[in-house]
Structure formats: C-alpha cells, structure tokens
C-alpha cells in the first residue's frame, strides 16, 4: 500500500486510520484489540511484521496496560500512538487523565462504540463523550476522508509547543470504521514532511537532563496550578487546531474548521450533530431549503476544546436550535453536546431556544425521515409565541 502519488483508495474507515498511522510511522504503538477498532491495530501489526514501518509494536494484555505503555513510551521521548473503542476506552479511564496531565502528545484513534450494558458492539458516542473531561483534545470525523486527515493533523496538534496534549480522533464505529468508502491519501513523503521529526520535551531518556515524571503533588504542592495550565493549553489548542488545518489545506485542498457550519448564515432553525449523521442532516437541510425553509446545520468537529464562540457566531441568530446527541447524560437536561451548545448560546441576545434530541444509541439507524421529524419539531417551536417544552426527544425510538 505504499503510495508515491496522492491517490483515491477504496478503504474501510479503519484502513484509512491505519494508513495515516503507517505514513506517520510513529516510534511506538501500544494496543489491545477491541471491536470495532481491532482492524486498525491488526493492519498496523501487519505493517510492522512486513517491515513497512519502524515502529516498536507493543501487544499489551489490556487497554489499561496499552495506555500505561503509551504513557511510558511518550514520557521516554517516543512519538506514540494507540487505538481503542468502548469498553477498552473505559478500561483506559484512569490513565487518560494521567496522559493529559503529564502533557504527553499521544495520538489515539477511538472508534466510537456503545458501552455495556446491555452488551452492544455498535456505534454511539458514549465512550468518548464520557471521557470528555479527561483533558484530551477530541476531534470527531465524519467520513473516511476525515478519519485519515484528522489522524495526520492530530500528530501536529498534540506535539505543538503551545499545546502538548494528547489527541483522540473519533470515527463512527461500523458506519465508517467497517464500511468501504473513498479516501484520498497524501504521499508518504508529504505526510513525513508535514508531521516533521519528533522533538520530545523533557524526555526521561535524556540522561544529561534528568526529570521526574508523575511524582506525588499534595496539599502544599502545585496540583491546582498544574490543572490551570492544562486548561490554558486547551485554550491555546483552538488556535493551533485551526492553524494546522490551514496548513493542511494547502497540502491537501481540504479545509477543516473547528466546527463545520452548513447554510447557517440566514438560518431560522438549525441542527447540531456529530459524526457520520451530518451528511444526512445536510441532505435534509437542502431539501427544506428547496421548499423555502431557512434551515441549517452544524457538525461538531472539535469537542475538546469546545469552540463556544464559533457556535454563537454560526447559529446564535437562529430562533430554534436542535442538538442531536448519540449518547446521553442520564439525569442531566440532555446529552453532552446539547449541554455544551446550549451553554455556548446562553449569552446570545436574543437567545435561541435549544432542544435536546437523542438518536442512534447502540447503533440504532438514523434515517432521513428521522431528521425531518427533528426539523419539524424545531419549525413548530419557531412558530410558537411561547417556549416549547425541553424534554429529550428520541429519534427512531420503538413505540411499542
């Protein structure tokens, strides 16, 4: 699969990620298999076995160990990657916080999958949305192309001197990870030049400048200051993500924003959505526009950092905004994206009403008709003189 020319390939989403990893050629990949991510590390293990990469491949005995090994490797000074899904993500949980707080630029592909129980292997965003507060940058991709592009850009974002945070890139499990679709790759040389050589900061293997990583930092220490610097890095990350996207656009012709707004300029109603469902939403926006409805859509790309001002700018003028979450925060007023978007629009004056929708849990399919139903709710709400009720509305929920 060595690509000398930029070329369009027919690949699964997992193959797209593995190809990006091969072209980056990280020093270390530590991983444990889990559906639907397994294909990524399986393909990568083959690259290693075939001598196509120089990577030290660590087969860990669990995701907890895989992330521990990734932390050790990154702290030692190696460019490090891993991949996971669902229960594997959950098992990494305590180490995710450690990786972020040590400011280790690990890049991880998370192929979104529901969490147990009931046991379910299909797509939803519960895994990574549950991990939104662990201090990692989160980029959500829509399709095969973005699976690849995000993973290449993630290396630069994570390693940027103003950021130095781990980055996770997401794709929808099965819907993208297992489906065949088109992906235009850069050449190996282009990717190598784009990511450049890795320059670790304070690597543990630099014996002339010994450092301690991960000591106790208690009551009279700097734990709180440490956390404040993590937040500062996250704030700087927004600008860095955008700058690197601009640089990547010159190379690839594909420009990605922190959000992906579609026909929102004069929109009266808009839907915010994450991942592969964005295309269906844009299709319905076009259909409604053809009927004279001022509809728009925003796709979430960076969820951490959350670019609140961009949402206010794009959809703050709408009468009603619907937010579609493919995960839930039980007992809260809606899913994670809803809570974030509603908060981002709070200071708009006048302020749009924001309504929560839940869809696609455990891989439940989401059809064009379901999105039209959501838009119908928004349009009805926009016509009312009084506020509409804000309970969760489920899309494609079984009635019986």
């Amino acid at each position: 699969m060595t690509t000398e020319q930029a070329t369009i390939l027919a690949v699964t989403g997992n193959e797209a990620v593995a190809e990006a990893m091969r072209q980056v050629n990280p020093d270390v990949v530590a991983a444990y298999p889990i559906t639907p991510q397994t294909e990524i590390v399986q393909i990568y293990a083959q690259f290693v076995a075939d001598g196509k990469v120089d990577t030290e491949f660590i087969t860990a005995e669990s995701e907890h160990s895989a992330m521990s090994a990734a932390i050790g490797s990154a702290a030692a000074g190696a460019r490090t990657m891993t991949a996971t899904s669902s229960q594997g993500f959950a098992l990494m949980w305590e180490l995710l916080f450690v990786a972020a707080s040590y400011r280790l630029p690990i890049v991880m592909a998370n192929v979104n999958r529901a969490l147990s129980g009931p046991i379910n292997i299909h797509c939803d965003h519960s895994d990574s949305m549950g991990g939104r507060d662990c201090g990692w940058i989160q980029l959500y991709g829509e399709n095969h192309q973005e699976a690849y592009d995000n993973h290449v850009m993630a290396v630069r974002i994570a390693e940027h001197a103003d950021v130095r945070l781990p980055v996770m890139t997401m794709i929808d499990g099965y819907v993208i990870s297992g489906a065949i679709g088109p992906m235009e790759s850069l050449t190996d040389a282009q990717v190598q030049e784009f990511v450049g050589p890795y320059r670790p900061i304070h690597p543990m293997l630099d014996s002339k400048h010994p450092v301690t990583v991960g000591p106790f930092d208690g009551l009279h220490g700097f734990y709180m200051e440490h956390k404040a610097t993590q937040q500062q890095a996250m704030e700087r990350a927004s600008r860095v993500i955008d700058e690197i996207a601009a640089e990547y656009a010159e190379l690839s012709g594909r420009r990605y924003g922190l959000i992906d707004a579609y026909r929102t300029e004069d929109a009266e109603v808009a839907i915010v959505v994450v991942g592969s469902t964005a295309g269906t939403t844009r299709m319905i926006v076009d259909k409604l526009r053809a009927k004279g409805v001022r509809a728009g859509c925003v796709r979430v790309r960076a969820f951490r950092p959350f670019p609140a001002a961009e949402y206010a700018e794009a959809i703050g003028h709408c009468k009603v905004v619907g937010v579609m979450d493919r995960s839930d925060s039980f007992g809260a007023q809606g899913g994670q994206v809803f809570l974030e978007v509603r908060s981002a629009l709070y200071d708009c004056d006048p302020r749009p009403q924001v309504l929560p929708f839940i869809y696609g849990l455990g891989g439940r399919d989401i059809f064009p008709a379901n999105i039209e139903q959501a838009f119908t709710v928004l349009r009805d709400a926009a016509k009312r003189k009084t506020k509409t009720t804000v309970e969760r509305r489920y899309l494609n929920l079984r009635e019986e």
Binding site: A10, V175, P182, S276, G279, M283, I366
Partner: protein
C-alpha cells in the same frame, strides 16, 4: 443526487454477499464514481440471513444509513424469498435479481413475487462449474453488471485480474472471470 444507485444484497453467511457488495464499490472506484459498501452488522453465523448495501453515485455520497428503498435488490439464496421480505421498500420499477435455476416466470409463481422487474441467474451452478465451489457472489456480480448498466463487463474483469490476482492463484482468478462472463451472458429477464 439523482445519479445515486442504491443496491441491497440479501444472502446467507458464507455466500459472499458482503464481498460482492464491496466488489461492486471497488469496481465503481475504477470508473471514477463515488461509492460506499457496508454490511448490516450482526452475529456472523454461517447460513444466517444477512444484508449488505452498496451505493454508487456520480456525486460524493453523504448518507450512511441502511438502504430502505433500493433500486436494485440482489438475492444470493432463493430460499430467503420465503423467509425474508427482500423487496421491502423497493419501488415498483426496482430490479430484483435472484440466484435460481428457475426462469423469472416460474420463480414468480413459486414464491408469489408480485411487481418489480425480476431477473434470475443460476449463480450457484455456474460457480460450481467454473470456480469449483458453490459460492454464488461473483456470478451474481456478473449478472448485475449486465442488468444494472453501472459499468462495463470489462471493468469488472480488469478489477478481478488486478485485485483477485494479488490474493489468489491464476486458476481461481480465471475461474471467477469465467463465472462473471457466463452470468453476464446467461442472466434471464421476463
């Protein structure tokens, strides 16, 4: 989006429906078309009914949901006709291609199929005679190539030589090419 063709595949685990769905997508790539192929994931048991989908378009494909209103339905196992509603959601003018020794008229009578444009091809028999194994997927692609008109037969043959050529010995590749060519010629309509 009017240039979008949606194909739904019905088969049983082990018949290669998913491979066929992907093969059609990959041939489309060679024809500079946009494509998408995916199975409906479930328990992967040999013999259990499975569904797979292919979309082919002149424009980038933005939707990823399952196909509810297929223009083409491909049935790799005729016994599915009595247990699965294979034409569910298919419009009246949809093409329905069934792997069967029976000509379309007799197939209609036997399984009480109403409406649609019915085609049949003895794919299992052709596969046994050409490839030496009763795997009907590549013959079904040959028949589909003829009746769907999505791309020329030569493009499928070229793909098989290039792609199968990397994975299988020449005898298997040539067997598959013969299977596809025969099915292309022998598919029957009404």
């Amino acid at each position: 989006m009017q240039a979008l063709t949606e194909i739904r595949w019905h088969g049983r685990g082990g018949q290669g429906a998913v491979t066929a769905a992907k093969m059609v997508a990959e041939v489309a790539l060679g024809q500079k078309k946009y494509f998408q192929a995916f199975p409906e994931y479930g328990p992967e048991r040999s013999g259990a009914p499975i569904v797979a989908f292919t979309r082919i378009s002149d424009e980038p494909i933005q939707i990823y949901c399952g196909i509810e209103n297929p223009q083409i339905v491909v049935v790799l196992d005729p016994t599915l006709l009595s247990i699965v509603d294979v034409t569910k959601g298919a419009p009246e003018d949809a093409i329905v291609l069934v792997n069967s020794d029976l000509p379309p008229a007799k197939l209609r009578a036997k399984y009480h199929i109403e409406g649609h444009r019915l085609f049949s091809i003895a794919a299992t028999r052709i596969a046994t005679e050409t490839i030496g194994r009763p795997i009907p997927n590549t013959p079904m692609v040959g028949a589909l190539t003829r009746i769907a008109g999505l791309f020329p037969l030569a493009s499928v043959v070229d793909f098989l030589r290039a792609d199968f050529g990397k994975k299988f010995p020449p005898k298997v590749v040539e067997g598959n090419i013969e299977a596809i060519t025969r099915s292309y010629e022998e598919v029957q309509g009404e």
